[in-house]
């Protein structure tokens, strides 16, 4: 069973993101990076699958050269191969363009039985790339997976989070899964593998190499960000005083009015 995991490098979420008003972008210079946490669950799920069913895990990312660090973390967890797509034309790609690019890259790398993504990246919080890749590759998808139940020669069965609760879904292989945090506990990279990962050659591909049409990605994406801004600061607190019966009702009323519950 060959598994490919798409992983994304994101700014460290311990740092409150700052905006650069001039460029309308989030400041990334000097900010520590991390692998988007759900992607680590995806890597772990991939490693477990190949441990049980044989084969190997490959990791793939789109971004500049610094994203090799993220790919090396995938390798140090146990992935066998890593690939990076880096092309200046990809800057400002939206989720459509990113899934198009990843799907092209996957096709150019090889055949996979299972493709894994995190349920969303914690910078963009969109959660759309996984399903987008599945569509571009013409394969089945199960999103928001919190348990992989069974794998047969031609199907994979997983439990996913549904609006009403949970459901168990059987999909034909190949399948793309997007992973919830509760799916597993990602392993830590061991230091021996970290050293090996640092020495691994990571092939870098551009749009031409993967057969992606540069006119469809980056600034030519179907959607664009017009403006980024920090949300209005929290309104100052309001004290509710009086008889218990009364203030309990007022409190709930306020929460309902504010659409909090």
């Amino acid at each position: 069973m060959n598994v490919l995991v798409c992983i994304k490098q994101v700014p460290d979420n311990a740092v409150v993101p700052k905006l650069d008003a001039a460029t309308n972008r989030v400041v990334k210079d000097g900010v520590e990076t991390m692998v988007s946490p759900f992607d680590l669950n995806a890597v772990e799920a991939g490693l477990k699958l190949v441990e049980e069913h044989g084969g190997e895990v490959s990791v793939l990312s789109v971004g500049d050269d610094s994203c090799k660090t993220t790919l090396r973390i995938g390798l140090s967890m146990g992935a066998a191969k890593a690939y990076l797509v880096n092309d200046p034309a990809l800057e400002d790609s939206d989720t459509w363009a990113t899934s198009y690019t990843l799907a092209k890259a996957i096709k150019s790398i090889g055949e996979f039985d299972v493709i894994l993504c995190g349920k969303q990246a914690i910078d963009d919080d969109a959660g759309q790339v996984g399903a987008g890749i599945a569509e571009q590759l013409g394969i089945s998808q199960i999103t928001y997976v919190n348990e992989i139940k069974e794998v047969t020669a031609d199907t994979l069965t997983a439990k996913r989070v549904s609006p009403a609760g949970e459901e168990v879904v059987e999909a034909k292989l190949p399948v793309l899964l997007t992973c919830e945090k509760s799916l597993n506990e990602p392993r830590y990279p061991t230091l021996k593998r970290t050293r090996m990962a640092n020495r691994a050659e990571i092939p870098v591909m551009d749009c031409a190499a993967i057969g992606a049409d540069a006119a469809k990605v980056g600034k030519n994406s179907p959607s664009a960000i017009k403006k980024l801004y920090t949300p209005a600061p929290r309104q100052s607190g309001e004290l509710i005083k009086g008889e218990a019966e009364e203030i309990g009702k007022i409190a709930v009323q306020k929460l309902v009015e504010q659409k909090i519950i």
Binding site: Y188, T190, L191, T194, A197, N198
Partner: protein, 378 residues
């Protein structure tokens, strides 16, 4: 001269920090409160390849360099100083085998120690003799094919929890300097008894024990290095270990500084964060300078060790400087925390106690000065 971290070192710091902060840090308080040696941590350290980080891969180590080892020790001690001490004890425990062991001994004890299968302890200190090893009383006498060890050792880190220890015993009472020998004693040897475990001020999870050798018989094959070569061997082991204590001190200091910065930004008095007051800023600046200087001296000593050139003086300098820097920084951090810093619900209270050992073990600060002066004047 090259002040740049290698890719390996950067990746290692990231990996160790992430692991230590999520695995060790949440345990730090519990093992302190319960005075508990975290056996489960030993296994986890092995899984992370931290039990033999800077030893050759062919022997079972992870093949990193000495600076990487210092970086790892920093990150581990920043998360939990007791664990830093537990690893230090382990490294000291098997280092004699690495330096002087024969091929069979390396295969039998060193490899499993480096791979994290066996936990080692360093068994040198005695009630009457600490840094003054010539006052040691524990003896070993050859009886047929076995050495018979008698005596008492104390303050032995992990003594009650190790799989084997390297015990240094007098084999020639006339001239201990040239009459001390190292022996491997394995767990379960009927002649080795744990008399008690200590109730320490800090690094409480790194439990230390008093061990009694009562006609403890070990096979001849357990002698490490040359007969009567143990004094020099012990000094070499301790020399190498000092860099680890320096790195441990840097990690403790860094964690105290980080807590102080965080607290200073959060804590408001007179309607502004205390970090806005110059008095606090200067305290932080001084503390950060201490940390950085200690780190540089530690890496320098580690680099000399890596190059295979003499490093005794620099290791002692790094150890005393870093330990004393850590003392100042934890004190500053606690002061910045104000009354809260004195409360057990703030980790600086534990770190303040944990730090103190760095000025005492592996030679007190005063002993480091003897070592440094000896190097200057000889």
């Amino acid at each position: 001269m090259d002040f740049k971290y290698t890719e390996d070192q950067l990746a290692l710091r990231r990996a160790v920090r992430e692991w230590a902060q999520s695995y060790l840090a949440p345990k730090a308080e519990e093992i302190d409160v319960n005075n508990r040696f975290p056996t489960e941590t030993i296994e986890a350290l092995g899984e992370q390849d931290l039990m033999g980080l800077a030893y050759p891969e062919e022997l079972g180590g992870a093949g990193y360099d000495a600076i990487s080892e210092a970086i790892a020790m920093e990150e581990i001690s920043a998360a939990c100083a007791a664990t830093g001490s537990i690893i230090t004890g382990h490294y000291l425990g098997f280092d004699a085998l690495y330096l002087a062991g024969n091929a069979e001994q390396k295969e039998k004890w060193l490899r499993p120690a480096l791979e994290g299968e066996k936990y080692a302890a360093f068994c040198l200190t005695e009630p009457a003799g600490g840094s003054d090893m010539t006052s040691n009383k524990t003896t070993a006498v050859l009886d047929g094919d076995e050495w018979v060890i008698n005596g008492v050792k104390h303050f032995i880190t992990g003594g009650a929890h190790c799989d084997f220890l390297c015990c240094f015993a007098i084999t020639n009472k006339e001239d201990p300097r040239h009459g001390m020998t190292c022996f491997v004693v394995e767990k379960g040897n009927p002649g080795m008894k744990i008399a008690s475990e200590d109730n320490k001020m800090g690094i409480r999870g790194a439990r230390t024990a008093e061990i009694v050798f009562d006609n403890c018989r070990v096979p001849k094959e357990n002698m490490v290095g040359e007969l009567n070569g143990g004094y020099r061997l012990a000094l070499d082991v301790v020399d190498r270990g000092r860099i680890g204590i320096a790195a441990m001190s840097v990690g403790i200091a860094q964690s105290a500084l980080d807590l102080a910065i965080k607290y200073a930004k959060e804590r408001e008095v007179f309607k502004r964060p205390i970090a806005k007051f110059q008095g606090i800023q200067w305290m932080l600046a001084d503390a950060a300078t201490q940390v950085e200087a200690a780190r540089m001296l530690t890496y320098y000593a580690a680099d000399l060790k890596e190059q295979g050139v003499p490093f005794t003086k620099q290791a002692a300098m790094a150890k005393i400087f870093a330990a004393e820097a850590a003392h100042k920084v934890v004190d500053t951090s606690l002061q910045i925390h104000g009354g809260y810093g004195y409360m057990k619900e703030y980790p600086i209270e534990r770190i303040y106690r944990d730090q103190r050992i760095t000025e005492l073990f592996e030679g007190t600060s005063q002993v480091q000065k003897i070592v440094i002066a000896g190097q200057l004047l000889h």
